[in-house]
Symmetry: C2
């Protein structure tokens, strides 16, 4: 079974709720995490292999989210080299166990071997999550060979070392201890059925989510539809609906479309966000998730919705929410408008309404730890409290409440939206990436926003400097006998 690690963690959370710990360990070549395997330990000890080729920062956050919100703990069991991205993956785990021998070490060798920066996720986790002292982190991050054995434990880079002879026995012991420390979550699980959407040159068609691309304009329209009918609201019935439950399926489809766009459609600069459907049904679905928050399945669905919206926040494209006549921007779907860089709502007598749900209040936090409404009205909790929580709002009321950006009337509507899209699509994509990333996360910073706020910029900058990729740059010359030639100017 070959799947990507974030997918594997997601599947575990839904399909095997009894699994309380997972072990990520080295592959046959003893290099941690390139072609590594995952073994999973549940109430009974069963294990299967997962092959993953790409572990992004979001993948690492998926492991941490599973630990924090699902009680699915993880152990990095390192036997051999654990370098760079491999150590970043280990840092995402709850604990790190390292073999104490001549060759097993953890390292971030990028600075000394490649002349570039270790992942900001790695550096940030070393000092912020593992709280390694910054001077020791400095020494560690400039040592190509890394740190091993007792010193790795003393500096806080790993939690424990064992001789190779005890490794095989110690791994399941530690995994069992992690699992035992986490509240039991009895099954049965809920299978995640394949989405079987249709992906083609001009878009994606899913049951609830559609992407329509106009390549020449570098614009896409992303439409999310609400439930077609009333959704189950009792825990057992929701579980029975399983991955067909609207909230789960619609947001899985949205996630698929966001990833498709990020990886396969790099030229799309502007995404118009639309919704379709019935406000009341979306609100009822949200209320069921909130009412059953102690049920593991309803909780997992909400956390899934939360993660997909966080991915949208972190997607480097302009999002413009267009709240037009047939829309259904209510509750969790209104979060799309709050996540968007701007929103346009049609002002008309029989025009659209928006509505808030309990999930807008506290169910779907952003990476900065605040809700989108708290971030929108930063430092003004009285404004958030005073929002019209219980009534649908027309454009005038929504504008007055500060919940939408613009509310053109029918005469101006088409021109204003068209011009906004055209103008945005004409601006420098680099400048927009920087601007949007700066504006989207007002308020406190967390490890997550630190990582993403710095990630692309630092790395893009350092990786494209001549000192890295020039003719005599360190990356260019890596593995060759010549020494790199640096421009020594400090910036």
């Amino acid at each position: 079974m070959d799947i990507e690690l974030a997918d594997a963690v997601q599947r575990l959370r839904f399909e095997q709720p009894d699994v309380r710990a997972l072990v990520i360990t080295s592959g046959k070549d003893r290099v941690f995490c390139s072609g590594a395997n995952i073994y999973m330990l549940g109430s009974s000890t069963h294990a299967f292999k997962v092959n993953f080729c790409k572990y992004t920062n979001e993948t690492r956050l998926a492991i941490e989210d599973a630990s924090q919100h699902s009680g699915l703990k993880s152990l990095a069991a390192v036997n051999g080299a654990c370098a760079g991205g491999g150590y970043e993956l280990a840092l995402a785990c709850d604990e790190i166990l390292l073999v104490d021998d001549a060759s097993s070490a953890v390292s971030l060798p990028e600075v000394s071997l490649l002349g570039v920066l270790p992942g900001t996720g790695g550096l940030t986790r070393v000092v912020d999550k593992r709280r390694v002292r910054r001077d020791l982190a400095d020494v560690f991050s400039s040592l190509g060979e890394g740190v091993k054995g007792k010193r790795a434990v003393q500096w806080g880079l790993v939690d424990e070392t064992v001789p190779l002879s005890r490794f095989a026995a110690r791994v399941p012991e530690k995994a069992r201890a992690l699992a035992d420390g986490s509240p039991a979550r009895p099954g049965p699980g809920v299978a995640l059925e394949p989405l079987d959407g249709r992906h083609h040159d001009l878009g994606v068609e899913h049951r609830y989510v559609t992407l329509e691309v106009v390549p020449a304009e570098r614009v896409a329209t992303l439409t999310v539809r609400g439930p077609d009918e009333g959704e189950p609201t009792a825990p057992a019935a929701m579980r029975e609906r399983g991955s067909g439950l609207w909230a789960l399926r619609a947001f899985r489809e949205l996630d698929d479309v966001l990833l498709d766009m990020r990886f396969n459609r790099p030229d799309i600069g502007v995404v118009v966000l639309r919704t379709r459907g019935d406000l009341g049904r979306v609100l009822a679905s949200d209320r069921a998730l909130r009412a059953n928050q102690d049920d593991w399945f309803a909780s997992e669905v909400r956390h899934h919705v939360k993660r997909v919206l966080k991915r949208l926040d972190l997607t480097a494209r302009t999002f413009l929410a267009v709240i037009d006549a047939e829309s259904a921007f209510a509750g969790s779907l209104f979060e799309l408008a709050l996540a968007a860089d701007r929103s346009y709502m049609l002002a008309a007598d029989d025009g659209p309404r928006i509505a808030l749900s309990p999930l807008n209040r506290d169910g779907l936090p952003m990476s900065n730890g605040l809700t989108r409404l708290q971030t929108r009205f930063l430092g003004r909790p009285e404004v958030v409290d005073g929002l019209p929580w219980d009534e649908p709002l027309d454009a005038e009321a929504a504008l007055e409440a500060g919940l939408v950006t613009f509310a053109p009337d029918e005469i101006d509507w088409e021109d204003e939206v068209r011009l906004a899209v055209e103008e945005r699509a004409s601006l420098s994509p680099d400048a927009l990436t920087g601007m949007e990333a700066n504006l989207r996360f007002a308020g406190p910073e967390t490890m997550e926003t630190k990582i993403f706020g710095r990630l692309s910029a630092w790395q893009n900058w350092i990786f494209q400097r001549p000192n890295a990729v020039g003719e005599r740059g360190a990356l260019t010359l890596y593995g060759r006998p010549e020494r790199p030639k640096f421009n020594w100017t400090r910036t």
Copy 2:
């Protein structure tokens, strides 16, 4: 009188403590802040002009630090265009007053006119400090012509608009109100005498601070000497010693050397930090600053020491503290070792001692709002509390307490320090800049660390992309009739 703005603010704090508000307003050409003037309003209405050519993010922080810690409030009085860096300067002020006419507007026009990013300081202050809603901030930051009049007030971009006819009368009214809201601080002030150090190719020589450069190795040694004799400890005597007071003079000299190095010696990659002098005298000076914290002059001296140490944290060079036989790393001077990326302390029977003072405990916070000890032992306040606050420590004790990185004995000392310096100087300067900036600020992020954590990276990246500076880039073509040609890939 032509001086730089940060200098002007600093002079005001020391030399004219009775001045409680300053007005920064447009120059003759009505362009805010390029060749702008500053008028200062004190208990009597006196004013003088300041010409400044460079206003860095640190300058803007100097204005904010003066407001927060000195009660020196500032008003941006905008009559005409206030664009880009000009608006960033206005954002640093406590209030912004804008003329309501056809041509006066505030703007961050970089994205639309230049294809690059507005200063992250500007974007961050818009959403974090002024709490402009992020969707409105998005609209504002993509409008080349900016926002004026009532809309600027409604969106929170400025505090008030007035017709041109009332501007001249309204400015002093508002300045007076700001001044009246700030506790009076009666003079007389303390004149900041010129430092008259000697700057030459191979370094800088001041009374207490020396920089010695070895250009071929790209290494400099920065030495700070403690007081030559006992310093005054009573407020009146300290004020009488004035800018000759060791704590003030030594850190002014250190600031001068840091700026000299940053602007004039870009190739220096590694700075060896040394101290010389008597531990007890440094501790006595620190204790006097703490004991007299309610005296305005002692308070200003401490805040100055704080700002210089923050500048060191934000300086993109490697700092290695070398605690050798004749050193005096006590209290405020020990902060140099805590600010350094690593420290080496000689372990010997008659070897050096280090010592902590009350200023290490809470007097000299970093940009993240924590002390350097809190950052060093992040999330472990019991470790900070349990440090040996009252006794000098030898190398073994300092290593045990986690206060130094390495403590080689006399046999290894020279080799180990030499190798550390040589090795560091051989690494990619870009990679080190990124790594050090990531590791230096563990813990919470503040507006300051957000700004600096993103500043150089985002801007360096976006400004050197072909979309900005390529043959058909937006910066290259600015002011010409051709339209830029972008690579549309979103990163």
